[in-house]
Amino acid sequence: MEQIIFYLLALIMIVMAIASVSSRKMLRSVVYLLFGLIGVAGVYFLIDYNFLAAVQLTVYAGGIVVLIIFSVLLVHHMEMEMETAKKSKQILTGLSCLIGLGVFLTIMYSHEFTVVENTLTTTTAEIGMGLLSYDAGGFILPFEVISVLLLASMIGAIVIAKGVKLENEGKETVGNPQTRIENSQETEDEN
């Protein structure tokens, strides 16, 4: 049963990923990505990392994708078709990616992994404890660092997007500063 679900998920993820990097419609591309990300969350559910799956859904599907959709809506005319790269470049890149994939898979399959049989389930409490423990194996320091990282990127995003008086009067001002500030705060809250 789980096997079938996994294959189904894998199929969905790959198809969606391909669709999202080849679709010529901006918004569709983002929506395909959304499904791909949900597929990842599905994999997390399958291996019993429920918390991680939840994070994946809320932050990725709920935060990042929404952010990207916002930006698509703000900057892009939806009907417009995107330009694509030259066919030759596409084929060349595709081929080299396939070769790279081949190399990866050959190396991975030739490597003996010692799989440890386990049915451990990880609770959210454990993760929370790990995040806040400062003993060996604890992750308090990265936790602190990432808070600085989020602060910095929030400040950066605000400063960049903060409305400056446009030199060219003719151009429309897209998006008011308020939206972006909220967006950035959103990302911080997700942590």
């Binding site: 996994f6 990923a17 983002v30 994070v55």
Partner: protein, 105 residues
């Protein structure tokens, strides 16, 4: 552990995702699409960490934590990138890579 699924199959899946991301990053002409490809690459790595943790080294949770942090960093990165893209759009009304190339190699 997913019954009946070996680690090789999951690694295959993530490798495919990774290369789709790489392919998109190189061929796409649109800044937002490039951002999307980037998310695929990051996700492939995140899944890798989690399943390696689960399949090979379940005694501690290093991989899981790693992927949580990857997600957080991805969020920050996206927020910043989107801010810059929007600012760029205010100036040139386009997000196509061609339009951004006033600078030549």
């Amino acid at each position: 552990m997913i019954a009946g699924i070996s680690i090789y199959e999951i690694l295959t899946l993530t490798s495919i995702l990774f290369f789709i991301g790489v392919y998109g990053f190189i061929t796409r002409k649109n800044l937002i699409s490039i951002l999307i490809s980037l998310e695929l690459i990051l996700n492939a790595s995140a899944v890798n960490f989690v399943i390696i943790n689960k399949y090979l080294f379940p005694e501690n949770l290093q991989g899981v934590f790693f992927s949580i942090f990857i997600i957080a960093v991805a969020a920050a990165e996206t927020a910043l990138a989107v801010a810059i893209i929007i600012n760029l759009y205010r100036q040139i009304s386009s997000v196509e890579v061609e339009d951004t190339e006033v600078m030549k190699y």
